[in-house]
Structure formats: C-alpha cells, structure tokens
Symmetry: D2
Subunit: 147 residues, 4 copies
C-alpha cells in the first residue's frame, strides 16, 4: 500500500538572477560557466533560506566548511542574454548518507532555460590541514532545517 | 569480422591551466564554475589546434558563430588549489548529424581531478537577428580538419 | 554671479548586489575583480534606468556598440563578504566631447566599501570589421536621456 | 652627488596570458574585469617568482594571509580579443611602511594594451576572527626576497 502514501513535494526556494552584459560572450548570449556561478549561489541560498548559518559558523559548530560538488549534469534548452531576469527554482530531491541531490530549474518566466541536477557533499577540512576536503555524514541538525 | 577493424583512438589535444588564488573560494579550493571556464577554453583550443579558424571567420564563411553547449556531465574526483598546474586532455569522441560529443579529462600530472562529457552543436545566428541561436549540420570542412 | 547659480546634483541610480560565496577568495573576502564586474553592471544599469536601449538597438540606430572603459581609479576602503548586500550609487559626473566620467560609491548600508571613478567612451566598431573599437561623439539623444 | 648614484631598475617578472573566447563580451573584446583577474594573478606570480611561499604558509609563519588591494589606477590603451597572447610585466616600484606600489604593463608583443598601478598591503586576519583584514608592517623576510 506504500504507493498510496502521499509524497510531499520537496521544499523549493527561488533565487533571482539579472543577466548582465559581461555575462555574455561574443555570440551575445550567456557564456555557460556563468550559469554554474548562479546555480552555486542558488545552492547556498537554498540553505540560507532554510536557516542554515554561514559556513564559518558551521565550521566552528559542526566542522562543515561547505557543500562542494561531486557530480553535475545540465541540459541547456534555451539561450539567455543581458537584460533577462531568470528564476532558479532549487530543491534537495534526495538525501543520502554522505551526499545529497540538489536540483535546479532555471526559468525566464514560463520559459525553461536549463535544468541541472547535482550531487553534493557536506565537507570538512582534511585533518592534516592540507587544502583538500573529505565528506562527512549529513548533519542531522542541517537536514532537519531543510525538510 | 568488424571487431578486427582497428579503431584509431580519437585525436587528443591538451590544454594547460595554472590555478590562481582568485580561482579558489573561501574553502581554499577551486570554485567549480572555474573548471567549466577552463573546459570551455579547452574546447575551443581543440578546434584551434586542428586548424579551425576564429569564429568571426567561420561566421563569414560558414555562418557558424561557435559551438554552444547543449548538455554537460561532470564528475569531480579530487580538489585543486592555487599553484596547481592542470592538463585538460580533450577529444571529440562522437560526431552526430547536428551535434558532437566532446570529452575532457582534467589531470594534475597522474592525478585525475575531474572528467567531463559534453554535447555541443555548431550554431548559427537566428535568421531574424534575435540573440538566440540554432543548430546547423556539422560543417564537413570542419569535421575533416578534426579527424 | 555664476557662483550663485545652483548646480543640480547629478542623477544617481542605485544598483543592488548580493555578495555570493564564489565571489570570495581563500581569505574569505570579495576577490577584487568582482567589484569591477558589479561596477560594470551598475554602469549599464544607469543607462538602462535612464531609458537608453540595449546596445544591439543602439548599434543599429547610432552605431554605438557600448561604453568601454578608458581609465579607472578605485579606492578600497572596507572588505565585504558573502551574505552582504551592497548598493552601488552611480552617476555621470562629467560629460566631455568624446568621453564621460562615471562615478560609483559602493556601500553596505552606511558603510562605504569602495569608491571608483571611470572615464568611458561611446564606441563604434572599426570600419574595417576588425575586433577593435573607436570613440564617437557623445550621441545627443543618449545624453538628453541621462540628464 | 646623489644624482650620480645609479638606480637599479626594479626586478620585473612577466606573466603570460592567453585570452579566451569567454573572456570577451558581446562587443568581441576582452571584458575589462578580466584584466584585473589577470593582474591579480600577475601580482601573486611576482611574489612566487621571488620565492615567497604560498599564503597558507605565510599565514602560519608570519600571520600574512595575502596582499589585498587598497587602491588601483588603470589606463586602457588598446583592446584585446580571444586568441591574443598577452605579457604582463610586473614590478614593485615602491616599498612603504605598511603598503607597497605594484606596477603592471600589459602588452601584446610591442603593443601596450593597458597600464596599471596599485597600492597593496600585507594583511593579517582580524584578531577577533571576523572576515575583515588589517595591514601589517612589510615583513622584512618577504621584502628581502623581492629586491
């Protein structure tokens, strides 16, 4: 009967972007690495909107320095250009033991511009102080804020 | 007997990157959109190394303004930081009618940092002069240079 | 008696910036080239707010492709970090024959973060189609919109 | 007779830049904040070439987290576009008590593209751990390496 259990859709947070002249390339359209810049901002903005504190604070309290990317997939559907206002609709669509899936729909009003799906981790600094990172278990206090 | 036919591995071109301080985020590691910046440069560098002229020239001769991205997948394996020297090994691993697959291995010497696989198109400006683009058939003259 | 003539302060337009994690460097503060990214956006936003159309349109109607920078001076007073909301107050403080001075105050509420003063030109493409630019006389129709 | 004392010209270190497609804007020329990105890399490269260690190490040994910018002036003389190879010639042209002047000539072979002069400081983290910075006296061990 599990298929009768209603699934609440995941919490979605929207991040607004104005596309600027300098975000565009000689073809006059957004140079694609800029979409990843905005998606990364939308990722953190999601956690901020859920009440997760700044990474400096989670570094002190939980040893968590941020949520680096492990894997990303993106599909570019329409182009955008300067003057456009975009909305990035962001949700965590799956929680795993040491990682989570974060999903994005970048829209210009009704137009879908791109879709992206990422795997991210919560990371700690290496114990030896070298510049690398390691994945930690999803902190329950952070997960509780996001549901 | 087709399995006896030797397949030539695709032509691979290597693009060199120095990671700079400003490419790194407050965690001290490369902020991931910068990897896409370098991958995009490696993509064009591949065509340049094959003898494909600048996009201004292909715009005049073929109506091709560049090779925008349609789809990308990337797997981030190790972190990098400023002072690192990276090598991006780039190949076109599949030619389709109106698109092609371009594949990247970003290495720091023996270390694999990330792998990326993209679908790109050869694009023309819209006929009505609006800022969008449209895919064209792979120009045979360009394909011949790249094999 | 000219010193009795009241000078209207120049029209000022404010552009809002949210500082993101990826805008900051390993020292945890905004990496300075990002301030110039935002200042450039504030420059165009000033003209947009005055009713100047997109550069594609001015290219067709006036031969003006944009307002490239000739000279800039900036003084960095306080640092900023991610989570900060900045206001860039922008004005044209002097019109010359073929150039103009655009001035910026980047603030975080009451705090002055940086001041910048630029000389920019209105530019046309080169007549021979090469990628360079040349300065043109300030178009009176644009100046009239900005006063 | 002091005017007979020969002044050794300051040590100059050259940093190489390849201009990429994504560094250019819809006008087809380098979007100017990218010049500051390269200048910042040339600044650190100067110290690296002089034997100054990474900022993580100077943070441990000297409390110095980097050399943030206090003031910059730049004059843009010629445009550049993708495919160009630029040379940034960098020198420290003045040492002061708590700051220094770093000067840059960005060239494309014989062509001068831009000139820039900066005031930078050697910075420490704030004692209270907040994200700001404070200037420290020029560390003599660093200055000795650079002369």
């Amino acid at each position: 009967m599990s298929d009768l259990i209603e699934q609440k859709p995941p919490r979605t947070v929207t991040y607004q972007v104005r596309v600027e002249f300098g975000d565009c390339d000689p073809a006059g359209i957004v140079w694609f690495p800029n979409f990843f810049r905005w998606i990364d901002a939308a990722s953190r903005h999601f956690f901020e909107a859920c009440g997760v504190p700044r990474w400096e604070e989670t570094t002190r309290t939980l040893g968590v320095i941020g949520t680096p990317l492990v894997d990303t997939q993106a599909r570019f559907i329409k182009t955008a250009s300067y003057g456009d206002h975009l909305q990035i609709h962001t949700a965590v669509t799956e929680w795993r033991g040491k990682s989570f899936v974060q999903s994005y729909r970048v829209c210009r009003g009704e137009d879908l511009i791109l879709e992206c799906q990422e795997v991210r981790i919560f990371a700690s600094a290496r114990e030896d102080g070298s510049p690398g990172i390691r994945a930690v278990l999803i902190p329950p206090s952070i997960r509780a804020l996001c549901d």
